[in-house]
Amino acid sequence: MEPFKYDSQKFTKINFTKKAQQLEVEVPVFIGEKYRIVFNTSGLPKPVSINIYTKDKEAKKREAIFTNKEVKAGETVLVFDAPRARKMYIDYDVPADSTASPTQKLSGCVAFMVGYK
């Protein structure tokens, strides 16, 4: 974790519904500063795809600068060293849950901390 300083974090509560969802967190950063983002996914009842972009979800063309697709099952702490950028968009692609009903649904939480140096 060192030598980064961590003093901001973001929790996103996720409700798994019958419909797939895409939740996006905009993270403004300062160019020239070095950032590390640390995710903790241990509060999720089932996997959620995490992707980071430098453009928002409305952009016509964008490429992920980070994805958790290759992460081994059971690994719940993910570390990403950010490239030079002005903004980052963290997208959580939440899969549909066919078992969700109006009276019962799965919920969980994902969090990240932003470190800088």
Binding site: F30, I31, S42, K87, C109, F112
Partner: protein, 291 residues
């Protein structure tokens, strides 16, 4: 000794962050038991999840960036309002909690111990008035702050920890709008301090850091707009923040930068442009401080 302290503080911050995750997620233990099945009253309309949200930087991070660019301490530029009881509305309390947080970061990073202590007390007072004073008691933050006066590194870690527990408290209590309001106050105060120091020093690095700060203004405005339905009083604040953005966007250097569409380039403002921007920031800051 210092390294040990730093290392302990870092571990403490990580421990807090990890434990916060489970508290915020409403589960006490990780793994299997983190699966939470929520029973929903069938007569209740399903709550809509916000599809876009914002993670804004901390006042300490902004103060650190300014310090790296050569921002020196200047006496008498922090908020002159030393009576927190003057702020009676939740909006003015939250905005000025931000102002004092920025002053706290600025004074700590510049080793102004007595003033830092005063800022800490004012932050505590406003947090109490907002009903969230208990965050200062977590891990004895107030006591540790006082005990470590004079040790810049330790104080910075304590402020970082305070920021994290505050954010968690507001998240837990579904008061994210306060996070955005507090940050708006802190951001205006940080810019005010930066521009006042720039008036004297005219440092090139400081100039580019000032204009760089403007690039996050759009995110702040959007974060406030996303919370507007929770607190209609934010509307006036959004207008004030938009008025700063309008001035910035009208500057020639900014227009040229936008036309060039080179996101990697630094923006350097002319002295006259900094004066225009400073005037607007000062106007909004005065309004905030006057409550």
């Amino acid at each position: 000794m210092l390294l040990n302290r730093k290392s302990l503080a870092l571990k403490g911050t990580m421990l807090i962050a990890t434990s916060m995750l489970f508290v915020a997620c409403g589960s006490e233990t990780p793994k299997e038991e983190s699966t939470e099945v929520v029973a929903v009253d069938s007569t209740v309309v399903e709550e809509e999840t916000e599809t876009s949200s914002y993670s804004l930087p901390s006042p300490l991070q902004i103060a650190s960036i300014f310090k790296k660019s050569g921002l020196k301490y200047k006496d008498g530029i922090t908020s002159s309002q030393k009576d927190a009881a003057k702020y009676t509305t939740n909006l003015s309390k939250a905005l000025n909690l931000g102002v004092y947080s920025a002053d706290l970061s600025y004074t700590v990073l510049n080793k102004q111990n007595q003033e830092a202590m005063n800022c800490m007390k004012l932050c505590r007072q406003l947090a109490d008035n907002l009903g969230m004073g208990s965050v200062f008691d977590q891990g004895n933050l107030s006591g540790r702050f006082e005990k470590n006066l004079g040790n810049e590194d330790s104080l910075a870690y304590i402020i970082a920890e305070l920021q994290m527990v505050t954010d968690m408290y507001l998240d837990e209590n579904n008061q994210q709008q306060i996070t955005s309001i507090v940050f708006s106050g802190a951001w205006v105060e940080s810019l005010y301090i930066g521009s006042k120091v720039y008036e004297k020093s005219k440092g090139k690095d400081l100039n580019s850091k000032l204009s760089e700060q403007m690039t996050i203004l759009g995110s702040i405005i959007n974060a406030l707009k996303a919370e507007e339905k929770k607190d209609a009083n934010i509307t006036g604040l959004i207008a004030d923040m938009e008025s700063i953005k309008a001035i910035y966007d009208s500057l020639e250097s900014v227009k040229k930068y936008n036309e060039a569409a080179n996101e990697d380039a630094d923006i350097t403002l002319s002295d006259d442009e900094v004066i225009q921007l400073t005037k607007k920031i000062e106007e909004v800051r005065t309004k905030i401080i006057n409550g």
